[in-house]
Structures are given as C-alpha cells and as structure tokens.
Subunit: 272 residues, 2 copies
C-alpha cells in the first residue's frame, strides 16, 4: 500500500516539511510519497490543494497524511474538509500560546522563512563568503575573524559542515586540511598555532574514508586502505598531542556534526 504525505504551507514549506519528516521518521517501515505544496495563499490555491489530496486518497486507496502550517483561518477551514488526515500546526499550538502570551497572534502568512531584516541577510551572506574564501586552507590570513576553524583529512566533511554553519547560524567558519606533511612530526601547522583555541577536529572511520575517496579516485593511493588508516591514525595523534577537541563524524549528518560543534565549542550563533 502506498501512502502520500503532503506538506502544505503559505510560505516556503520548510517548517511543514521539517515537522513532517520528523514525525514520519518514527514510522520507518512505511514508505511515503512526499509532496510539498508551498505558497498556498488564496482560497483558489487551497481548493487546488484539496483536489490534489483527494486525488491521492483515491489513487492510493489510503488516507493521505497532510502536514499544514497554513495560518489563514479561511484557508485552514477549506483544507480541513479534504479527505486526508490533516495535522495542523497552528490549530494545536496557537491557542495555548495566545492564552499564555495574552495577545492575539498576527495571523500573518509566510512569516517563518521570510527575510526578517537586511542586517540578518547581510550576516548570513558574509558568513557564506567567509566560508568560501577560507575553504580547504585556501587562505589563512583571516583566521583572526573566524568563529571556528575545522581541521581534518581530505573528504572528512569539513567543507559542507563549514557551509552549513555559515548558512544556518551565520558563523564565520574556516577549514584547513591536514596532509602528509603534517603527519611526519605531528606538529600543528604554523598558521594554526596562534588560533589553537578556535580549532575543532573531525575524524572518520578509515574504511568509510576509503569508500568516500574511492568514489572520487578509484584505486588511487589516496584511496588505499593503508593511506586512509595512516592518515586517520596520525590525525588523531595530532589532536591528542595538542589537546584539540575532536569528534568522529562517520555516522553523522551535516546537521548533527554542525550542532554538536556548536555545543562542544560553546559557539554563540550570529543568527537566531
């Protein structure tokens, strides 16, 4: 039996998707077709949404699950009449919140992921450009401006983590690859020494590293078991020798690596 899950929103749909993914991840055995319907901001588009849901109900022979973050009362009433199980975020949480805060909410559509102010936008863009300019050790002279400097071997997740920290939290994140030159004497590269307190190390299971590198350069020395093992062993020796906090990121998502670094380093986000 196929099930369809709908994410219905008057904005980007990101909140509805996040909520829905989170709930559905608790039902691992069931496969869902997922459909995001963003920018639903009129009676007419809401009626279209209802039609789509009803069509899926018919085709699947099963009730679709509908995660909704619609704010407008009229649109929510229209949606409520569809042949799906509607899980309406505002219906359940807005009442208690209004009561506790003692004010009516604004019922403004598309608020959540809209641009709040140009200042927040600027912080975010600057952080992204900082991450790009200071990716993979390309430049080291701006490390005094960095909030955190990620280190690790090639393909251990430094770049995507840097970009995520920049985009999501506005953090100035640099990253620097440790290579064979550094492994001979377990010295910290000179450019990192003055910024030791900003360093955070990533490590990875050598077998996993090998698999990742083989996808890129199959059969190369770079991807060989011996090389990967040697690099990871030396890397962890450097972390230990210089008391650099580090984490094994082998089985972590980028979100998990990022939020754990945030917690471990006690970083203050520049964006809320």
């Amino acid at each position: 039996m196929k099930r369809t899950a709908f994410y219905v929103s008057d904005g980007t749909g990101i909140t509805a998707e996040t909520l829905g993914h989170s709930m559905l991840s608790q039902f691992g055995g069931i496969k869902f077709d997922q459909v995001t319907l963003p920018y639903v901001i009129s009676n007419e588009t809401t009626h279209d949404v209802v039609q789509k849901i009803n069509r899926a109900a018919e085709q699947d022979g099963a009730t679709p699950i509908v995660f909704s973050t619609l704010v407008n009362d009229e649109h929510r009433e229209i949606l409520a009449r569809c042949n799906g199980l509607v899980l309406d975020m505002f219906a359940v949480f807005l009442g208690p919140l209004e009561q506790e805060l003692g004010v009516r909410s604004s019922h403004t559509v598309g608020q959540s992921h809209s641009i709040r102010d140009h200042e927040a936008y600027r912080i975010r863009i600057d952080a992204v450009h900082f991450a790009l300019d200071n990716d993979d050790g390309a430049r080291t002279r701006h490390y005094d401006q960095a909030d955190v400097i990620l280190i690790g071997v090639s393909r251990s997740g430094k770049t995507p983590t840097s970009l995520y920290l920049a985009l999501q939290f506005g953090l100035y994140t640099a990253n620097y690859p440790l290579t064979e030159d550094d492994f001979d004497d377990l010295r910290l590269p000179d450019c990192l020494v003055p910024h030791k307190d900003k360093l955070f190390g990533l490590t990875i299971n050598p077998d996993r590293l090998m698999a990742i590198r083989n996808e890129r350069k199959a059969g190369s020395r770079y991807a060989s078991p011996r090389q990967c093992e040697m690099e990871v062993r030396a890397l962890e020796a450097i972390y230990n020798k210089h008391s650099i906090p580090f984490m094994d990121a082998t089985d972590m998502s980028i979100e998990e690596i990022s939020t754990r670094i945030l917690a471990a380093k006690g970083l203050k986000r520049r964006l809320q």
Copy 2:
C-alpha cells in the same frame, strides 16, 4: 518583560527550532530569548533541562515557552512537570498518526536529522562540491550535469542560493555572473546558449544592490547608482529578450528564493 523560549530535543534541535521560530514569528511584538537544548537523551539531562527552564521562569517572572520534540515517554513526563508552557510535538501528532497508520511508532530518539544512509550523504556532498566547483562562472564545462544554472549580476544572491539548493535538496546548481561584456549587445554568453532550458535569472532592486555593494566596496564605480541601475536594466532586458524565467529576489530570504526556483523550474529534488 522578558520571555525565554526553549527548544528541547533528543537530536539536533533543528525541528524544535523550526517549529518554534514559525510559531513565535506570529507574535512579532514580543522579544524572546531563545535557548536550544539539543541531545537530551537521559533522565539526568532532562532534569537539567527542567532546572534551566525553572530558573528562567524565576528570573523572567514569566512562564517560559518550551517547544519539545522529545520522543522518549519517560523524558517527556519529566519535562511536562517544568514551570514552562510545554508544546510537545509528539504528544499532539503521534496519537492521530499511529491511529491512522495502524501501527505503533518506533519512539526512536534523534531520528529526524540523523544520517539516513550513506547514499543520501554522498548525493548531498557531491551537490555541494558541484556548487563550489561551478560557482561564479569558474567552470562552464560541466553544465550538462547541472540541474539548474542561476544567472544574475554580482551580489544578487546567486552563490548562497546555489549552496542552499545543494545542501537542502541535493540539486546540482551552477551559477554564472552576467557582466558588462554581456550587456553591450544583450547577447547570451556562448557557454550558456546550449543550456538555455536550465537557466534561471535573479534580479534585484538597484538601490538594494547599491547598498550591498557599498558594504563591500564603498564609493566604487561598481557600487555607484548609475552602474547598478545600468546593470539591472540590461540584465532584465537580456532575460526578456531570451525568454529566461526570472524573479526579483530583493526582499526574499535564501529559503524563499530557493523554494520558488524549485517550483518555477519544476525541479525534482535529489534529496527528500
């Protein structure tokens, strides 16, 4: 009066934050101190969370708002006894979902933003590296692999949007800057012509462009009113002449730009 909002989670905290930001954005007049408490996975850490909430309640003289995505029943019961208004995502949505789906949920902690499989991780990382390699017109020979190619003037939001599309949806996104050379005869650059169906244009209000560029190079020709106006006018003429779909991204967040492009181009995400 100060209010504190807590985001409590057994995982990254991203779902709780997303839900909470979305709800609180409906109460624009109230200022919240926001505290994320991720990786709450034991009775002990849950008790610590309760203490933090109770301390905030005392200090603020106002009930804290607590957005929780805790899954474990025991931890949820402990949290429920705090002096905050607990908005518990699983409490309200899990029951109806279990009933509709006819199965008990797994009650597994930290599911939502955990790594699902190595394949999904690979897609994401590859997309990020594609975006980096094909940023700002650096390379054009891989455009056959691109899902979408963003075009626009310098500092119109192409790079952060490309990275967001890669990180969030696994889309292979290239971006190419249109410059003065292209504005003389309103021709589409040769490298873009074979990939016309993949193009999406961004435009921006000239005053806003000027403000952004002035933050970088104050007083330069590049940031002058005349230059910014000329570039935007020529840019839109190119879009119109070559029937390239485009969008004014002046007042849009990166999320909004990205999800609107997804919808406008009918792109199929590589990651759900």
